[in-house]
Amino acid sequence: MTSGVFDQLLGQPEAIEQLQRTVAGKLEGVHHAWLFTGPAGSGRSLLAKAFAAALQCDNAGCGRCQQCSLTIAGAHPDVLTLATERVLIRIDEVRELVQKSGMNSTIGDYRIVIIEDSDRMTERTSNVLLKALEEPQDKTIWILCAPSVADLLPTIRSRTMNVLLRLPSVEEVAELLVQRDKVDRDLAIRSARQAQNHVGMARRLAVSQDARSRRAETLREIAGITNLSRAMVAAEKLLGVAKRDAEALAQERDKSEKEHLMLAYGLAIDEKIPPNLRPQFKGLEENQKRRNTRALRDGIDRIFTDAESFFRDVLALQLGANVEMTNPELADDLQLRQLGTNAVASIAVLDAITESRKRLASNVRDLLVLESLCTLMILRRDLAA
């Protein structure tokens, strides 16, 4: 068993096999444009990174050489990544990328451009990209990531090789947690269920006590909303949980990227960075800072996922559906809700969560989004009793 770059990715055997075949045959040529699609949590961007590393590596993505380490650390000079925190990618960002894509590679065999959230382009911006895809350059490879194929213009779609990622089932996620992370089976199944099949989130719930207690805190706050004032307090608290969650995740990721970069330059983990390498590390730090502004939004999204699981349980009880609960440990709270509200109210909350995701993506103030959502979660205890 190697510790290759693809091993870090859970639950996409078909996609990985397709990409590994391409990497194995790279001397015969690699298609110049790829489109990775899959729902949030399927690991599109991680897979894009792994594919890029495997193409640059001399050993099909060994995970240990400099090419691999630099790519995974997000610091490979020939792997450009565009990740936006905005609602839309700006046209000049894409112009710049197109221009840079044409330059010769420096230390790698390929020039690779990754566009995360490539669904966030207007038609005009897409057309700038299209021009580049229409005139493939030798050794330049584009990897676009989006939730679904339909999110891109047909003219772009027709030029890309499509790789479809899926959300694995609860059983698959749990199995992976048991196999790779040596997690106890019961905990693995519970985490997979709680994460609503989101692989990365399931892994964190399974291995981190902190992540588990943040989830419990989230649900406790939600269950305790009994009037308007409590709803406002809960919104603030939930934002605090999301912040801590985002910070913890960002710290883990930052640290691991830095370690990869140290490794790539042959430095020991606690070694002082020599002056000539400082710009590379500075660059990494800047990228991380930029990304971390986006991390909070992901943290809030995890709150939404937790809330969704809770209200799906409530709705299932209200409809008398005989399904397994995601949050059996909250049986009392679920019971109170089932009696104190009705299915229409539960559906309204679930709809509002969908709407909240949309608002967050449009940069509506996070606290406002949460406040508005929490006011729909008020449970009148006196009515329930």
Partner: protein
């Protein structure tokens, strides 16, 4: 050595540990800003980390104070003491991080704040932000402000300012700024009157206040005037939703301690008065409308101006 010294807010300066205590929060924020400006004047790449009230978790200071890759100067501002902070700081001070200034705001001497002050004031620069009670101190404040702003001002003008803004140091400070930027070479009574009297101050809070007072017409008029003169609709929505948040936060919880609501006592008193006539369902709708308005302003609607007016109407109507 700064250790154990106590200075007034306007003498605040960088030190390993600075404790800003006293009830006047406007002075406290000026003191932090002063320290930040002083540090920034000598180090352009100053790294600033702010830990807001209640966000501190034990151990956090060690990561915030630890040198970054290039040992850039760091400033850590902590909003209020909480669990573990006193112990962490004590340990940190045994071996102070190089190039790092830690500022802790101690708004009162209750609980963790009191404990931290007692334990650490001997090894810190103590900045005191006492409440201003006497006019002579307000006059001193104004004189110092204008000295700093390098604009001469005469005594009648100072007296007029004290009379108009004496109740709130923050407003007084803002008025001084505004006057010194008015273009006049020397400030006398005429400038003060011209700048502050009879003038429609269309700031966001005026608009919110008019709406919550039930005066829809006035609120809309102020808004349209403000809009024509370039008021920022995102900032206005933020201010309106802050007022709404205060009402909603207090509706079922009117005796909430100020420490829990994060409001100033006078803000709280005022919000409770404004709650008269509101029902809970009306307020719930208002909270939801505020979020919808921000969504509209951020691009979901082609006519955000109309969305804001709708919100103002709702704020003015439901309360009646």
């Amino acid at each position: 050595m700064t250790n154990g010294r106590t200075v007034s807010w306007h003498q605040a300066e960088p030190a390993n540990l600075v404790l800003i205590s006293g009830p006047e929060s406007y002075f406290a924020s000026r003191a932090s800003r002063l320290i930040k400006d002083k540090l920034r004047a000598s180090h352009e790449d100053l790294e600033v980390n702010e830990v807001t009230d209640g966000e501190y978790s034990p151990g956090l200071i060690f990561s915030l104070a630890s040198p970054s890759l290039f040992n850039e100067p760091r400033l850590v501002i902590i909003g209020s003491a909480s669990e573990g902070l006193a112990e962490d700081l004590e340990q940190l001070l045994l071996d102070p991080a190089e190039n790092c200034t830690i500022v802790v705001r101690i708004p009162n001497l209750v609980g963790h704040n009191g404990k931290l002050k007692k334990q650490l004031s001997a090894s810190a620069l103590n900045v005191s932000c006492e409440e201003v009670k006497k006019d002579v101190d307000r006059i001193d404040f104004i004189k110092r402000e204008f000295q700093r702003l390098e604009t001469p001002i005469d005594l009648p003008a100072i007296r007029a300012l004290v009379a108009a803004f004496g109740s709130d140091m923050g407003e007084l400070g803002a008025a001084c700024d505004q006057l010194s930027n008015s273009g006049a070479l020397k400030i006398s009574l005429v400038e003060v009157e011209r700048t502050f009297q009879g003038r429609v101050e269309t700031n966001a809070f005026k608009i919110a206040d008019a709406a919550l007072a039930g005066n829809a017409g006035e609120a809309i008029r102020l808004f349209r005037h403000g809009f024509a003169t370039g008021i920022d609709s995102v900032a206005l929505t933020a201010a309106l939703s802050m007022k709404i948040r205060q009402l909603a936060r207090l509706f079922n919880d009117r005796n909430a301690p100020a420490a829990a609501t994060g409001m100033q006592p006078w803000q709280q008193d005022r919000a409770i008065k404004e709650l008269a006539g509101w029902t809970e369902p009306q307020l719930i709708e208002l909270v939801q409308l505020a979020a919808q308005t921000d969504f509209d302003v951020k691009g979901a609607s082609r006519d955000p101006e109309y969305s804001i007016e709708k919100l103002l109407l709702a704020m003015a109507k439901s309360g009646q």
